[in-house]
């Protein structure tokens, strides 16, 4: 069973993995991307973002390395791993299933 808490946390994970599939970037970049793509609907808390990044890193879905940012600063860049790619696929499917399920309930009730 999925509890709302898990689902919300899972959602942030999913969004991060999704952003990283497109390009490797740093934490701030990830937050910006999510915000832009969702047209400012989704705002990522830094307080959730970095723990989530640590969590994903620990599970081996992403890796991190120090690099230099566009404006020539030291930044930590995150990259999707093969396991992360597979996870993203699974999670996307499961998310869509979940959305479908919720919308079915909303439409019939």
């Amino acid at each position: 069973m999925i509890t709302p808490g898990d689902r919300l946390q899972g959602t942030l994970d999913l969004l991060i993995l999704r952003v990283l599939r497109q390009e490797s970037t740093h934490g701030w970049g990830i937050a910006q991307q999510i915000q832009q793509i969702s047209r400012d609907v989704l705002q990522v808390n830094q307080g959730s973002l970095y723990p989530a990044l640590r969590r994903l890193e620990e599970r081996g879905w992403i890796t991190a390395a120090w690099g230099t940012s566009d404006n020539n600063r030291r930044a930590r860049y995150y990259k999707l791993t093969a396991a992360g790619r597979k996870r993203l696929t699974d999670e996307t499917a499961s998310w869509q299933e979940f959305v479908l399920a919720v919308s079915r309930v909303l439409h019939t009730a």
């Binding site: 808490g5 740093h26 830094q46 307080g47 970095y50 890193e57 081996g60 930044a75 930590r76």
Partner: protein
């Protein structure tokens, strides 16, 4: 699932926590920089861009906290996490943790031991029925009403009959009963008690019964009751003993019961027997030898009882002026009579040991303060990733609690040892301490102290952390702000440590001066080389002539033992417990009149001629006793120097006569000589007037046989003396042998123990204070490396730098000394009762204590001073 890769990453995270923290720190800083840059792009100026970015960033934690709060199991989860984090911090800082734990263990352990002792002796309720109504009643001398003395039988009987304040009133008389056991004859301390004695306590016998009214009739079958201790140690806890007959003091006596351990044991009694009055004893009013305890009637206060009994004493003074003219009476609580003398030393020592705990807490608090500032960035990061301020405070308190819990656990070991020491050294009168152990009360005290200590050591880091602007410390690095305030705080803490240590040093110094003065005190006799053997010859030598003959023979035989220089006998030995009647009312002829003191009560002792030579008590005028001072010849007496000073104004008393009853009806005796003063009742007690009579003319059965070893080694004579006395009479038990030096040692034992405790406390305090000042100066010089580098770069010498650091340390030490002296002057008067020959504000002691503290502080500061002088200016400047 724990895949190998995941396991590796987790291990790496564990092993490189610090590095990861730093990386996270850098990463977050980058994030904020990017935020700032974006806000500037959107048109904000840099200042407000930074401020708003930090504000938004700081706001993060709250959202996250709220989300997690919704999960419900939060408090426990948080607590466990706090404990984990604290444990990790503790293991990371091993030296810091070890010092803190050891410090707390000493403080908590020692305070627990003394606190438990204070509870036992001064607070724990006595195990008697209506214990709050049990009191003791004493006679007083209305000329010196503070001194409580024992009660005479006739006065007791009149009190009991006339007083309305007591439900029950009981008396106990010291006695000894000899018993021939499988290991030869021995003597049991006995209390002869009146019928109310056991009812006052309301205790049930362990087996058998207490005494019945019939047991107190003159012709009753002799019975005894036994203490549980004697029953267990001497009679193998045999329940068949009750009802059996023992031959005690040559008389068959039935053991009727065994009383539990808590039963009152006046005079250290191992047996109790009903008091059967001797002929005329009911009318004996002059000499007191009873201890009286009673139970107040319901609703009667101790003051009412005191007024009641004092009024009766006043009536008796009118009715019997010859004996009672100056006899008063007073009522004292049971606790006061048992533990009154121990109150001051116990409370003073408890105060001293709580100072040690206080210093320990200050020290650990200072350590924690430094540690929490070192961990500022860790705390800032924790805030950044979602911990609320209250959560951080709890985190810091959890760390203090864990630290003090570990300290408390280790402290229990110290408390155990301390309790064993207190039990071993407790004065015998404090029977509550005989079975003193690490019990529930001690554990409770230790836990309470642990919690209080945790709060005390946690408050500083918490207060300091509240002042750290967390987000800023992340951005700006570790070396900014708030540290001046922190330095001031930690200097104040160190000064207070030094001040408290000084107070303890002053206390220990005062005790040391007291003890050394007592040790050097002229005792009036020479203790070295004297062996003492005590006998009670009454039952074996029933007539006066027999006893006189025994004393003569025994001392003669002992004098002829090889290695014995002299042998004598006395009925009252300096510094020893009384073994028989030793006071009488003495009428003096030809004295200078002393108003209101015409027939004073004073010490009277019987002695053989060689007694004075054996103890080397000088005959200062006239002659000593001679063999010709026998039963039939002129009754004679010796008086001491204090007697002559008081009653003859230092004029020659020889030829004058003193009249008193001692082993006879009142009898006039001629003073034939003056002997030197002896400190009889204790090395602290000024010699009081006293009289000696020849044993042949007053043949008491209570005898201390003393021999002086020619070689100065009394212990070697022990066997020979014993053999000689057994040859003279094999049936009579000999008491344990002792030496005069041991008696001197015993008289100082309690003070030595108190000094030992005080010394240990102040040494600990000194060490902790030294660690404290070392730590503060060390940190200060580290923080000032840059400044010191600049100074050296512009020409300061290593010596200048060393002097600067030493001077700073010296300022701390002197502030501590000044503050501590003030506190000591306020507090030391509470220990006036424990001192002798030295005032509580003795300048020499204060100067000595200050010197020791200053020297220790300077020693502790030498290392940081040396380190500072070794600063390499080039490196110090480059690092900045």
């Amino acid at each position: 699932m724990l895949t190998p890769g995941r396991l590796f990453r987790r291990l790496r995270a564990l092993l490189t926590t610090n590095q990861l923290d730093t990386e996270l720190d850098d990463e977050l800083r980058f994030h904020i920089e990017m935020e700032v840059a974006q806000r500037i792009r959107l048109g904000m100026d840099e200042r407000s861009a930074r401020a708003s970015a930090l504000r938004d960033f700081g706001g993060v934690s709250r959202h996250r906290d709220n989300a997690r709060d919704a999960r419900g199991v939060r408090p426990l989860e948080d607590f466990l996490q706090d404990v984990r984090i604290a444990a990790r911090a503790m293991t990371r800082q091993r030296t810091h943790t070890a010092v803190a734990v050891l410090t707390l263990a000493i403080g908590i352990g020692a305070t627990t031991a003394l606190g438990a002792a204070v509870y036992r002796v001064l607070i724990a309720p006595y195990p008697y029925a209506h214990a709050d109504r049990i009191v003791t009643v004493w006679q007083t001398d209305t000329r010196a009403p503070d001194r409580r003395v024992e009660v005479s039988p006739a006065n007791f009987l009149d009190w009991k009959e006339r007083s309305r304040s007591f439900d029950l009133l009981a008396a106990a008389e010291p006695f000894g009963m000899d018993w021939v056991g499988p290991e030869g004859p021995e003597s049991f301390e006995t209390a002869l008690v009146t019928d109310d004695f056991f009812p006052v306590q309301g205790l049930r016998p362990l087996i058998g019964r207490a005494f019945l009214a019939d047991d107190f009739r003159d012709a009753a079958t002799p019975v005894v009751a036994m203490t549980e201790t004697l029953w267990r140690t001497r009679f193998g806890a045999d329940s068949a003993l009750v009802g059996r007959t023992l031959i005690l003091d040559s008389i068959p006596r039935v053991v009727v019961g065994v009383m539990p351990r808590d039963a009152m044991q006046p005079y250290g009694a191992e047996l109790w027997a009903p008091k059967i009055f001797r002929p005329d004893e009911r009318r004996a009013r002059s000499g007191g030898y009873w201890t009286v305890a009673g139970r107040l009637a319901p609703g009667v206060t101790i003051d009412q009882a005191e007024r009641d009994i004092a009024a009766i004493a006043a009536q008796l003074a009118l009715e019997f002026p010859a004996t009672n003219q100056s006899t008063g009476a007073t009522v004292v609580t049971l606790r006061e009579s048992i533990a009154g003398g121990a109150r001051t030393p116990l409370l003073v020592l408890l105060g001293a040991v709580s100072f040690v705990l206080l210093i320990a807490c200050v020290n650990v608090s200072n350590l924690q303060l430094a540690e929490s500032l070192r961990r500022r960035r860790e705390l800032a990061i924790r805030t950044a990733i979602g911990a609320g301020r209250s959560r951080l405070v709890r985190q810091l308190l959890t760390e203090s609690l864990l630290l003090s819990a570990v300290g408390c656990a280790a402290g229990l070991g110290i408390a155990y040892a301390g309790i064993a020491a207190i039990r071993a050294f407790a004065p015998t009168g404090l029977w509550q301490l005989q079975r003193f152990s690490l019990d529930g009360t001690a554990l409770l005290i230790a836990s309470a102290l642990a919690v209080v200590s945790a709060l005390a050591i946690g408050i500083m880091p918490v207060a300091a952390s509240a002042r750290i602007p967390l987000a800023e410390s992340l951005v700006a690095g570790a070396r900014s702000g708030a540290s001046a305030a922190r330095r001031r705080l930690s200097r104040i803490l160190v000064v207070s440590e030094l001040a408290l240590a000084l107070v303890l040093l002053v206390g220990a110094g005062l005790m040391l001066r007291t003890l050394s003065l007592l040790g050097r005190m002229d005792r009036g006799f020479t203790a070295e080389g004297v062996l003492v053997t005590t006998v009670q010859a009454w039952g074996y030598y029933p007539t006066s002539a027999h006893r006189a003959e025994y004393a003569r023979q025994a001392t003669e035989r002992l004098a002829s033992v090889p290695g014995v220089a002299a042998a004598g006998m006395t009925s009252a030995l300096p510094l020893a417990w009384p073994i028989g009647l030793e006071r009488a009312r003495v009428t003096i002829e030809g004295q200078s009149p002393v108003p209101g003191d015409d027939a004073p009560t004073m010490r009277v002792a019987a002695a053989t001629p060689a007694y004075f030579e054996t103890l080397r008590i000088p005959i200062e005028a006239g002659r000593g006793f001679q063999a010709t001072d026998a039963a039939g010849s002129v009754p004679v007496a010796l008086v001491n120097r204090a007697f002559v000073r008081r009653y003859f104004a230092d004029r020659n008393p020889i030829g004058a006569r003193v009249t008193f009853g001692f082993m006879s009806a009142p009898l006039a005796r001629e003073i034939v000589g003056v002997v030197g003063d002896v400190r009889h009742e204790g090395l602290h007690a000024d010699p009081a007037p006293g009289v000696f009579v020849p044993h042949a003319q007053a043949p008491t059965g209570a005898m201390h046989l003393v021999v002086r070893s020619a070689a100065g080694a009394p212990a070697l004579l022990q066997r020979r003396v014993r053999a000689e006395l057994t040859a003279l009479n094999g049936a009579m038990p000999l008491s344990d042998q002792t030496t005069m030096e041991a008696l001197v040692g015993n008289s100082l034992r309690e003070r030595r123990f108190q000094l030992g405790l005080f010394g240990a406390f102040s040494a600990t305090a000194l060490l902790l204070a030294a660690i404290g000042i070392y730590g503060v100066m060390n940190r200060a010089t580290q923080e000032r490396r840059h400044e010191i580098g600049v100074r050296m770069a512009v020409g300061a010498h290593a010596g200048d730098v060393r002097w600067m650091v030493l001077r700073n340390g010296g300022v701390l030490a002197v502030s501590g000394i000044v503050a501590g002296s003030g506190i000591a002057m306020l507090l030391s008067r509470f220990m006036a009762g424990m001192l002798f020959g030295v005032t509580p504000i003795d300048p020499l002691t204060y100067a000595g204590a200050a010197g020791v503290l200053l020297a220790t502080a300077v020693l502790a500061v030498l290392i940081p001073a040396w380190r500072a002088s070794r600063v390499d200016p080039v490196r110090a400047l480059r690092d900045e």
